[in-house]
Symmetry: C2
Subunit: 300 residues, 2 copies
């Protein structure tokens, strides 16, 4: 166990996700068997360590992004809820997602013809490929991938100004939390840019950075911000033990008000289901079911 790290989030051999702004008074903690990497990139603080239960753990600006053991719960749900809420997604855009997990999941859909991925921090891609190779699992070599190393917000502005750019069927925002380089991804202007980049039956999904135990008011406001732009906006969630409260909310939207986003719009084949560890059509729908008090605040 690591006992003498100078890293501010590690004490007495324990990584402690202490964040007075986002979740005061509580912290999930993990023992640190060894530190694989610690440095500051141009954009954020990066820490990668080993834990005996969760395997390799990626931490950005003190917040757990993913662990080897439970990453599929996030990657599969943020990807496949959007991908199966669309009847035939051919062109997919990933904003962020530098660890490669969402890319790996999108690439499992044989109907997909083009994948554009826009990541601002190339060091997250490089470090994830080196220390967490099962996250991308070779998907960075997929022939359908067009990888762009730039700011996702600016990318959307640029294609919005261009008449020739083809629009997308599914857009997945796999960003870090709003405190940091991803701040703009949680504001109304961003939803407008997403809407402009989307085909008529298109679906967008984003991580909400909160869950219903942590900050209901924020989720209510974020959903209503999305609702100003998209006539069809829903909240759902996935369960991840290394995220605060053991779950993370997702906001999913469509321009088409008639698509029930909580119901898969195409049948999953046996071959497709065989590639998935977490997602299935039943959990797609149940991810939209909330406890009464949370439902009242978020959805009413």
């Amino acid at each position: 166990m690591v006992n003498n790290s100078q890293h501010p989030y590690i004490k007495d051999g324990w990584f402690r996700e202490i964040n007075d702004k986002s979740f005061p008074g509580q912290a999930f903690t993990m023992t640190v068997d060894s530190i694989l990497y610690e440095a500051r990139s141009e954009f954020q603080d990066i820490l990668i360590f080993r834990n005996k239960v969760y395997g390799t753990v990626l931490v950005l600006d003190g917040i757990v992004q993913c662990t080897e053991f439970d990453e599929f719960a996030y990657q599969e749900m943020i990807t496949h809820i959007a991908m199966f809420a669309h009847s035939n997604p051919k062109r997919v855009l990933i904003i962020g997602g530098g660890d490669g997990g969402v890319l790996r999941e999108v690439a499992k859909h044989s109907c997909v013809e083009d994948i554009t991925m826009v990541e601002i921090d190339s060091s997250v891609i490089e470090l994830s490929r080196k220390f967490l190779p099962t996250l991308s699992n070779g998907a960075f070599d997929d022939e359908r991938l067009d990888l762009k190393l730039c700011d996702g917000f600016k990318f959307l502005q640029d294609i919005g100004a261009s008449d020739v750019h083809k629009k997308f069927d599914v857009i997945i925002t796999d960003s870090s939390d709003p405190e940091g380089p991803a701040e703009a991804f949680f504001q109304e202007r961003y939803f407008e840019l997403l809407k402009d980049a989307l085909n008529p039956n298109g679906v967008v999904i984003m991580q909400s950075s909160e869950n219903f135990w942590l900050n209901l008011k924020y989720l209510h406001d974020l959903k209503n911000t999305a609702k100003k732009v998209f006539p069809n906006t829903e909240y759902c969630y996935t369960m991840v033990p290394t995220y605060t409260s053991g779950q993370l909310g997702l906001i999913v939207c469509s321009n088409n008000a008639n698509i029930p986003l909580n119901i898969p719009q195409r049948k999953i084949s046996e071959q497709e289901q065989g590639k998935l560890k977490y997602y299935n059509p039943q959990i797609h729908s149940s991810a939209f079911v909330l406890p009464t008090w949370a439902d009242k605040v978020i959805n009413e």
Copy 2:
């Protein structure tokens, strides 16, 4: 913040739920604003403290039992899944549940005529009534309650040997984890005693002490132990942020193989729904939906 407690689970002002046997390598932690009570009862170590987010926190043998802020997620789900899986529950038995939360929820059902509660540790009842009065919320004064201060296992043995004792429609085992005084509640003989104490369409539910992230093999084995005794056995779960992984599994069983336990067997009235903060008929059903990999191990 408490900085100088001698309590073994408190260090530098943080309560740390460290347990090398049940969940090695990880620990949920909370700041301790003040300690309200700490002592050893005849049966277990009891700690009650205040946290600025979760309010009053009850800890038995180092494991968080409930907090003021999130207790309803556990109390409502373990109670109402069983109560609504029965079409007309009149006689209810609670094994454990000394904090009074399950009793409070059972008492909300006007169809209930008798409630028997069997708690081994009277100090848990006394301390909860004093420090966590909203848990029982006056339910210990309910005229339908017959409170017995004795061992639940022995109580079931005794009524099994008695011909005159009326059987129960719903039995709820709200115990602590198997490491400690509740050990016998997780073994085949206990399920046999439950079966003997149950009316033909009766329903039993128990906390499983684990969740699908922590110990899938244990849940598979526990469910199969129950299945040896009950033809109808299901796994479901509730989401509680102060429990490890943010969720806790429940085992629900019936003698009647034809009752779909995942579907409420009676309509919830508007008045009944108005008293509930977490449970609703939709979340009753979705609590039985598992991620694919967990479903395969627990249910196949």
